[in-house]
């Protein structure tokens, strides 16, 4: 290990480390702009020039490798002179419009100019002015402020995997811009806002809303996907102004997805439910909490009396905290019902011995040698897992895919089987058979053999089941075959947990009991009463039409919800609950990590944390055991030893699945629907975030490949009526040759039937 001296301090550093690394190790700050620990070294800002003994010129600390015996001076007169020289150049064409710049107060250029800038400028010429760019609804630009550090460009190339920003022109005329007036569409695009050291790229929804020093910072956890990205919620006067990443190397590194960043806008949506409502004679009326809860308790008790506990079903969202979910299940079970579930989007997977989870740490994804990704529209389901997968591929890993659409994963895909969802069981059986695993009678294709060979090589491997695999009508067989493949190849079997608290919901018992019905069954065989928490059934359910019908038919529906929703119009009572920023609690993410957080602001209006609502409801129903005085005391019951014993309750094994007829993938003439949860339709918050909803690609469209269009006699751009059973919708038709033959993509949330069921199309 080389030993160097930095500012007089002797230091042993790792071989291959740079002077910048050594300085970090020694706790010495070297000013910099272009350097970022997660990005490649550009060495273009020149701010980190330091004096190195025996070097004739100052050297950039970020790009200079240490050598044994090197003597570095980071703050010597020579180094500081170079740094000040660079600062002068950076400022001559910078507008110095700090008073009207959103970055003011959190600007690296502003901060460093205090130490390295002069009080007056020698530059008296006209300053450069750069035309604004339209990067879409999320990112505001003031390109005149750009100092050309290229972090945003490198982020696109290296982290996002999609270069949407580039440096055009040269010399003084260099500009960061998108391609051909295109916008920035990547699901991680907002991260360029933190990367930008100046006010060139800022948050559009946050623009001119507050000053950074006025904002209080509260640590929290993103309530969206199963990654559980750590965030900071920035608040002022009881209002959430923005959400930014909180670094956690093991979970989200220093990134968050755009939906983690911008969903906060929904917190102030006009649709927020701020007081309890009851429906009387078809009209909504506001009432007090006491009345509302007594009414609910009385109605549930009466229904149980009249029709038995079997008549009551409970559906809760896995975007709720583990405490809320635990009490939800406790109320339902207290009433005697076992019809409890959080897996609304699933057609009916079997409940396992333990909670389904990733099977490994999130951090391990980035170092996988081999991956088989089954039924996952990964970039939409898990934007940051997709980033880790790209990282693995970049390091030489091989990604293999089974899906119905050959979507661009922004990295090299080694092998793929792109087929209609109904053919996935067959596809997996082929891969298993090519590995000599017990998989029944199938013809092994070359593609399957290639994937098998890939998975049989390499060291660190995983078979990952995405949301579509979990939602699939044949989820158990897919699971069993994935397990067989994992066993035969020595891979870890993992589930990409869809929601922030998917694992927590399972641990909290929001699953059907021994004789209970799962979510789909509960909606297919309507109950007399439904207790709903955080769900919008027709948007969340595997079968929208069934959900809608079931709710309509039920005699009594009560929803704990943060929003008034068209999907809850058929309810009888709406109880306003606090979203994640307004209540404390915890989520358990896909790797089994318990992440607790506190509320950042007070609940809006009369809204109450759901755990308090359920506590009162439990008491009103005289269920016993509801005397909680804090969210921590609920957690202590839900997860008795906290993080310590979560691992014992995680289990991805499945047994006793008969493989039966594996089918012929080419047999059917019917058209399959590929109904994915839209990236910004994951939960009630994302659905109501205006900026997210304004991004490109969020539209109700049908996509099919050219052959399908030809066969149907339809052309791209046509209006088509899609039909599933009695449900139908008119949508515009797009051509997407990445779709498998026989498949049309129609997002979930459209008022249709089964997400992965048969569908017909006709000209509207």
């Amino acid at each position: 290990m080389p030993i160097i001296e930095i500012d007089g301090q002797q230091l042993e550093v790792a071989p291959g480390a740079t002077v910048m690394d050594a300085a970090h190790q020694a706790g010495i700050a070297i000013p910099h702009f272009c350097y970022h620990k997660k990005l490649s070294i550009a060495a273009n800002c020149r701010m980190c020039l330091v004096e190195v003994e025996k070097a004739p010129k100052p050297l950039p600390a970020c790009a200079t490798p240490v050598t044994d015996g090197m003597k570095v001076k980071t703050h010597s007169p020579k180094a500081v002179e170079a740094q000040k020289g660079v600062m002068e150049f950076l400022l001559i064409n910078h507008p110095l419009d700090c008073p009207i710049c959103d970055q003011g107060g959190e600007c690296t250029l502003q901060d460093l100019a205090v130490g390295y800038g002069a009080s007056a400028s020698h530059y008296g010429e006209a300053k450069r002015v750069v035309k604004e760019k339209d990067l879409g609804p999320l990112i505001a630009t003031d390109m005149t402020r750009c100092i050309h550090c290229s972090r945003c460009v490198r982020f696109g190339q290296e982290v996002a995997g999609l270069m949407e920003l580039g440096m055009a022109h040269r010399g003084e005329h260099t500009e960061v811009m998108p391609f051909l007036e295109a916008q920035v569409t990547h699901e991680l695009s907002g991260n360029v806002i933190e990367l930008c050291p100046v006010g060139a790229l800022t948050s559009k929804p946050f623009r001119f809303a507050a000053r950074s020093w006025e904002l209080s910072r509260r640590k929290s956890v993103s309530p969206h996907d199963g990654l559980g990205a750590n965030v900071q919620v920035h608040v002022k006067n009881g209002k959430v102004f923005r959400v930014v990443p909180q670094e956690n190397e093991a979970v989200n590194e220093c990134w968050i997805a755009d939906r983690d960043r911008y969903s906060y806008e929904a917190l102030d949506s006009a649709e927020r439910l701020t007081q309890p409502m009851v429906k009387e004679d078809g009209q909504w009326r506001a009432i007090g909490w006491q009345d509302a809860l007594e009414r609910v308790a009385a109605k549930l008790a009466a229904l149980r009396e009249a029709k038995g506990a079997d008549a009551i079903g409970g559906l809760a969202s896995a975007h709720q905290t583990v405490e809320e979910l635990y009490l939800f299940a406790k109320v339902l079970r207290g009433l005697g019902s076992e019809h409890i579930d959080h897996r609304l989007a699933q057609a009916g997977a079997t409940v396992g011995q333990g909670a389904r989870w990733l099977g490994m740490p999130i951090e391990a994804i980035g170092t996988l040698d081999r991956v088989l990704l089954v039924g996952s529209t990964l970039r939409h389901e898990q934007p940051l897992v997709a980033r880790r997968v790209r990282q693995a591929v970049k390091h030489g890993g091989q990604l293999n895919v089974v899906h119905a659409a050959d979507d661009n994963l922004l990295c090299r895909v080694n092998g793929k089987l792109i087929a209609r969802p109904a053919a996935w069981v067959n596809a997996l059986a082929q891969i298993a058979k090519a590995m000599n695993a017990e998989a029944g009678d199938v013809q092994v294709s070359d593609a399957a053999r290639g994937i098998a060979e890939s998975l049989l090589s390499g060291e660190r491997k995983a078979v990952l089941l995405g949301a579509l695999a979990q939602n699939h009508p044949d989820a158990d067989r897919i699971h069993a075959l994935a397990q067989a493949i994992a066993q035969a190849s020595g891979a870890t079997l993992g589930f990409l947990s869809v929601a922030a608290d998917s694992v927590g919901a399972q641990l909290a018992g929001v699953l059907p009991g021994p004789n209970g019905l799962n979510a789909s069954a509960m909606l297919a065989k309507p109950r007399a009463a439904y207790v709903l928490m955080g769900v919008e059934p027709e948007l969340d359910a595997y079968d929208s039409a069934a959900a809608r019908a079931a709710l309509k038919a039920a005699e009594f529906k009560v929803a704990l919800t943060a929003f008034k929703s068209a999907a809850l119009e058929d309810c009888d009572v709406l109880l306003p609950i606090a979203p994640f920023t307004e209540t404390g609690g915890a989520y358990v993410n896909m790797e089994g990590r318990l992440q607790a957080f506190h509320g950042a602001v007070k609940p809006h209006g009369e809204a109450r944390p759901a755990w308090k609502v359920l506590r009162v409801l439990g008491n009103l129903l005289s269920l016993g055991g509801f005397d909680y005085d804090s969210v921590e005391s609920v957690r202590a019951d839900a997860l008795p030893q906290g993080q310590a014993n979560i691992a014992e309750h995680l289990d991805n094994a499945i047994a006793g699945v008969a493989l039966g007829d594996l089918g012929d993938p080419s047999a059917t003439e019917a058209i399959s629907r590929l109904g994915e949860t839209p990236i910004y339709g994951l939960d009630p918050l994302t659905r109501r975030a205006p900026a997210l909803q304004a991004t490109a690609g969020v539209d109700g469209a049908v996509a099919a490949n050219a052959a399908m269009l030809a066969r149907l006699g339809l052309e791209a751009g046509a209006s088509v009526r899609v039909r599933q059973g009695d449900a139908s919708a008119v949508l515009s038709l797009h051509r997407d040759d990445r779709m498998a033959d026989g498949v049309v993509r129609v997002a979930a949330g459209t008022a249709l039937g089964a997400r992965l069921g048969a569908i017909t199309l006709e000209r509207a």
Binding site: A43, R46, P65, G85, N93, H148, S150, R170, G171, T174
Partner: protein, 428 residues
């Protein structure tokens, strides 16, 4: 003349012949003999590099780095692809020698690249040709075609079992692409911007593979060296400055053009060859090595010999051998304005000091030239120059500073006169 006899016309000897560029002329006069011998005898690479080292051949593109040493950096035993790249991105104002090689003796360059490729273990080579010279690009492509048809390129060259091919890449005219790593970026299809070094191209070059990049004239000298030995080449010039070199003399001389003369020739002799200063005017100043070389006043220059060491000692550099001659009618402010505009225009914009500083320097010089100079401007120019020099990713920053600082240093009076009187000192 021919390649068979060791004359001091190393690169441009074909000018004696009717069809200087043709394969027939080249082969009839000893062309491809060195290659033939190397392939037949399977000369070990170490021996070839040793001869290049003995020759004291120094890079003809401007930096004057010893070619033999550069070749020895190449990890020849590295498994996988390696490349040899010829830098014909001749964009330095004042330089026009490499284009003549492509027009008049392309086959010697092909042979030089073949020998380099053989020595360095490359299977493919590229010639990156400046975007603003098209005729030369065509001439090169013609020569490649001839060589390929004659079996000098392609598979199993001259029955040796060795495969090698060459390709042309026509640039788009950016000066920065003459910087070797920017050239590689451009060759890869990216924006021409220099890479930070280390790693150097010898370990991480074209497509991330070991790569050696040499100037056109450098590579063209190789067959001569292999034919007559490194010692003979060295003896053409002077110690540490082997061989002849093409000097592109331009400006206020009677016969501007390319002159291939031994290194160490007195400047006065070159000036005489070029017919002396035009119209009997007095010599005022000379930029001895292309526009980025610091300017030298007449008396200093007249004492110099034309070799790397002599010019360096005088405070400038031999560079690419582009000698720009200025007579007494030249306004040094106007001349510097033109030069500093060039560097402002050609800065790639990647790193801060060059992106921001070249424009600032140009604006100040422009201001002085247009009668709006201020007394503090000259110190300011030097201060800005010092803030750029040595602090950039590539040498363009230094190149932009060289003229500014040297013009102000040697002709300060003229600048001061301009500032004070708002007009030129010369020419009324």
């Amino acid at each position: 003349m021919s390649l068979n006899t060791p004359t001091d016309k190393v690169c441009l000897w074909t000018l004696d012949h009717d069809q200087p560029a043709s394969l027939a002329t080249y082969t009839a006069n000893g062309g491809y003999e060195a290659l033939r011998k190397i392939l037949a005898e399977k000369t070990p690479a170490e021996q070839i590099i040793e001869q290049v080292k003995i020759s004291a051949l120094r890079g003809r593109g401007g930096a004057g780095f010893p070619t033999g040493l550069k070749w020895s950096f190449m990890p020849r035993s590295f498994p996988g692809d390696k490349y040899i790249v010829c830098n014909t991105d001749e964009g330095e104002p004042g330089t026009f020698k490499d284009r003549d090689i492509l027009i008049y003796n392309p086959h010697q360059l092909i042979e030089g690249m073949l020998i380099a490729g053989y020595t360095l273990g490359a299977r493919a080579g590229y010639n990156y040709i400046h975007g603003e010279i098209f005729e030369q690009y065509q001439s090169w492509e013609r020569a490649l075609q001839e060589a390929r048809e004659a079996g000098f390129l392609g598979k199993d060259i001259l029955g040796s079992g060795w495969d090698f091919d060459l390709h042309a890449h026509h640039g788009y005219g950016a000066y920065i692409c003459g910087e070797e790593t920017a050239l590689l970026e451009s060759l890869e299809g990216k924006k021409g911007q220099p890479r930070f070094k280390p790693p150097f191209p010898a370990s991480f070059g074209l497509y991330g593979k070991p790569t050696t990049i040499n100037n056109t004239e450098t590579l063209t000298s190789i067959p001569w060296i292999m034919r007559h030995g490194g010692q003979a080449f060295l003896e053409l010039g002077k110690p540490n400055n082997g061989g002849s070199k093409i000097f592109s003399i331009s400006g206020h001389v009677n016969k501007p053009g390319n002159y291939e003369i031994p290194l160490g020739t007195p400047f006065s002799a070159l000036l005489e060859m070029a017919g002396g200063v035009r119209n009997g005017h007095k010599l005022k100043a000379v930029i001895p090595g292309g526009s980025s070389a610091p300017v030298l006043p007449a008396d200093v220059m007249m004492d110099c010999t034309l070799d790397f060491d002599s010019i360096a000692k005088a405070g400038s550099m031999l560079g690419s051998g582009a000698v720009i001659v200025m007579d007494e009618t030249v306004c040094m402010v106007k001349a510097l304005e033109r030069l500093s505009y060039f560097y402002f225009e050609e800065s790639c914009g990647q790193c801060t000091p060059c992106r921001e500083g070249t424009g600032w320097m140009y604006r100040i010089v422009n201001r002085i030239e247009h009668g709006k100079g201020r007394p503090e401007d000259l110190d300011e120019l030097v201060r800005i120059g010092n803030n750029i020099g040595g602090r950039t990713i590539c040498a363009l920053g230094d190149a932009a500073v060289g003229p500014v600082v040297s013009f102000v240093k040697h002709f300060r009076q003229e600048f001061e006169y301009h500032i004070e009187n708002k007009r030129c000192m010369v020419g009324g």
